[in-house]
Symmetry: C2
Subunit: 480 residues, 2 copies
């Protein structure tokens, strides 16, 4: 067998096998349940040991866990228990554990540390994780930490911070493998075996021209399955997805999903290769962005259960306060019909059915539209189709459910005119809900405003006001 | 330079570079806008050419597009235009385009094809994509297509179909690279260069024992950076995340996210390696599962804009119908206080503010809890903390917003007793909303019922009924 390069003992010692060797323990073991959640009994064993001050026992319990599980464990504990735990397992608190921690929990823990200690952690992290660690600090703390960093790390982090928040430039990793086009597969393998400044893991080799512009890309599997003497130019794929450094992270996620990317080259405005994004960094963005919509539509802000409670209260109360005005507007409509209600008190009960149905129908449509906008399924090319589609659905629902309610109303109140008014109001309300549910988020999106964040208030106002107005208005016209 | 293997012309001819070589065209070009969405002008050019019956022009427009963009284009067109387009670009309709298509659009198009044509497409797809293609067909069609398949493909698909829907076994790919432990890095590279049954792309080599149980895993980058004579056993990582074939896909997504996986081994009940999952197959699951919650909480079903409209109407109407009963229950509460409302008609307006605020507050809490359950952040270890947290938030919001409304009520109605009743009702309502928002989804989840699917109805019922009851009840007690 041919030998390509001398045996390098150091390289072996540093190989991930020896760093992380641990028995496999991730399937339904004594620590995890079948959904891979830490079992409450295990968490209790840790907290009991903490209560008894038995650091040795704590350490032995935590030691076999994966970094991500240690982070989970810290999050599951009460605030004061967290600090006790961290003190007991200091040398297990690797930068990987810190990178896995929830933002709020990490922030809370870092606040207790001096800048030099934070800088030490940041220096150990990959650029993207270090940026995440530092970007949320206030400016003074940020500057203190940056000052403590090695010049190289500081330059990398400062360059990342120069891109706007939530863009590819913030997320990307500055460590990647880029080689010139003239190499053969063999040259490349030799370079990789001797190269020192390589990232610890990579999935793709970028081929660049002399101006550092990407000209092609090689999956590692193509290199491993190709003979040494083949030119890289013949193996690489010239057609590659390039990501602009200032692209919004939601669109980065959409591109990774759409093209099934594992990693991708990030280029600056002049087309130079400046970094790479790997899917493991993008996957939590994809999940976050998709999960965010439900939180934003319901006004729950970031909806993070680890957020400091004062901040959560402020955020939620702010949203409820805005919505109170919606409710007040709707109440004003009702108050305008006080005379009608005084004469037919039954209307007060029935009107809430109309507005309730409208609110639910509007929310349905809005949820569909917001998701379709976020996933780029709804574009200006098919907006009109979407509107007619939702209008059809609204008419079907309005007539169908309205008929049902009209029959029910007849059965209870024996008043055909009241039943007809209810039916009419429900059709009007259903159409209002359907149209508001499409048009409001689409309009917001067209103006560059996040539809998930803003649509609910307007849709609710529309359905409440029109619901009460159409029902009480028709009742005043035909029943008084 | 050492030569490891003879130059293999065939291998080069088959390399991805030559198959897919195309100029890079994915950043802000004439076809895509800055969010990587197909521009409406481009879509119009295609539909205009279709209208004119100019197949050549259609073909030239579509040819430079990536498979995922061709799929997007098809989805953006009207139903009859879709068929015209597909006829114009038959030889661009690769299996990759079909794999990228929306389920409903694909189903609609496949219905027009005979079983043999579907089988031909399925045979070209990777197992996981073929399964996706076939699993939604009715059983007779499924059997017809399976009968037309090559025995090997059929066996693979049938084995996938033997796992429950939405599990790792359905998603996994049966093509992967597994080698015995005694190899060196050099042996492995030689095997890969000559091996014929290799998947076209892979990111990880699985090392297995003689019973085909996984014992370790090697990232390709580790192999490429390690000298040939090093034993695989010294490079591989023994600690790997194994995925049980019957694990639910949502949990698969959580594991990929949590551990930052690129690919992972799937094992059957006896621990044998039966397949691999790669992150590009999991990433759309992660996005779907996270995005699903907003659709389920709002009762929008799958919320797919390509779903046949009759099915959408049925789904949405069903949800609204169930919610009508909630509204009827609330209306019944109001009707019970008809006498009170008849005397003080203003109550009819004010009561909707109380229930509206409660509905919003309940939705906020519910959204946070449902997401926290889905992402495994909320477990039985921290449920109690979550309950006290939400109770605190609810009390703060109830007292704060209630005070604001009481002051407003005084200003409008000059009735301190009415203001006090409103304040009291808002505190009761806020606490009800907060507790229902946590306890209902948590209870559903504990009983193995999808909390996103079922919580809204119960939370709304609670907030509506308690909102009206507390306000009208207190009003009857203190104002009459």
């Amino acid at each position: 067998m041919a030998e390509d390069a001398p045996l390098d003992e150091e390289l072996i010692a540093e190989s991930p096998a020896n760093e992380e060797a641990r028995p496999d323990d991730r399937i339904d073991d004594e620590r995890h349940d079948e959904d891979n959640i830490l079992k409450p009994e295990f968490v209790r064993r840790v907290t009991d040991a903490l209560d008894e001050g038995d650091k040795q026992a704590v350490y032995e319990l935590v030691e076999p866990l994966h970094e991500a599980d240690i982070a989970d464990l810290i999050e599951l504990l009460e605030r004061d228990e967290r600090r006790q735990l961290v003190t007991a397992i200091t040398d297990l608190m690797s930068s990987d554990v810190i990178a896995h921690l929830n933002d709020f929990v990490r922030e809370d823990m870092l606040e207790a540390l001096p800048a030099s200690a934070v800088a030490e952690i940041a220096g150990e992290l990959e650029t993207d994780d270090a940026v995440q660690l530092i970007e949320d600090m206030d400016e003074a703390d940020q500057r203190a930490v940056l000052a403590e960093l090695e010049p190289e790390d500081r330059a990398a982090i400062e360059s990342a911070l120069s891109y706007p928040e939530e863009t590819a430039g913030r997320l990307m990793n500055r460590e990647f493998v880029a080689v010139p086009e003239h190499l053969t597969v063999g040259d490349l393998i030799d370079f990789l075996r001797t190269g020192e400044d390589l990232p610890s893991e990579f999935y793709e080799i970028f081929v660049v021209d002399e101006k550092h512009h990407p000209v092609g890309t090689c999956q590692l599997s193509w290199i491993l399955t190709t003979p040494r003497q083949v030119a890289l130019a013949d193996v690489m794929k010239r057609d590659q997805t390039l990501i602009a450094a200032n692209l919004d992270q939601e669109e980065v996620g959409n591109m990774f999903q759409k093209y099934g990317l594992i990693s991708a080259a990030v280029v600056d405005a002049s087309g130079r290769l400046v970094g790479q994004l790997t899917v493991d960094d993008v996957v939590h963005i994809i999940a976050e962005e998709a999960g965010e919509d439900v939180l934003r539509l319901s006004g729950a802000g970031e909806g993070d259960i680890n957020e400091p409670i004062q901040r959560t209260i402020r955020g939620r109360m702010g949203w409820l306060f805005i919505n109170l005005w919606t409710a007040i507007a709707a109440a004003a409509v009702i108050a305008a019909f006080e005379g009608t209600i005084q004469r037919i008190a039954a209307l007060a009960a029935i009107m809430t059915i109309v507005s309730g149905m409208g609110g639910n129908a509007g929310t349905q449509t809005m949820a569909v539209v917001v998701r379709a906008l976020a996933t780029n399924q709804l574009t200006s090319s098919n907006t009109w189709r979407m509107i007619t589609r939702e209008l059809t659905i609204a008419l079907a629902n309005g007539f169908g459910l309205g008929l049902f309610m009209a029959i029910g109303c007849m059965a209870v109140y024996h008043d055909p005119k009241l039943a007809a008014v209810l039916w009419g109001a429900m059709v009007v309300e259903s159409v209002t809900a359907g149209l508001a549910g499409v048009l409001i988020p689409v309009t917001m999106d067209r103006f560059g405003i996040d539809p998930a964040h803003t649509s609910t208030v307007f849709v609710t106002t529309m359905t409440d006001v029109i619901g009460f107005f159409s029902f009480l208005g028709l009742a005043t016209l035909f029943l008084m």
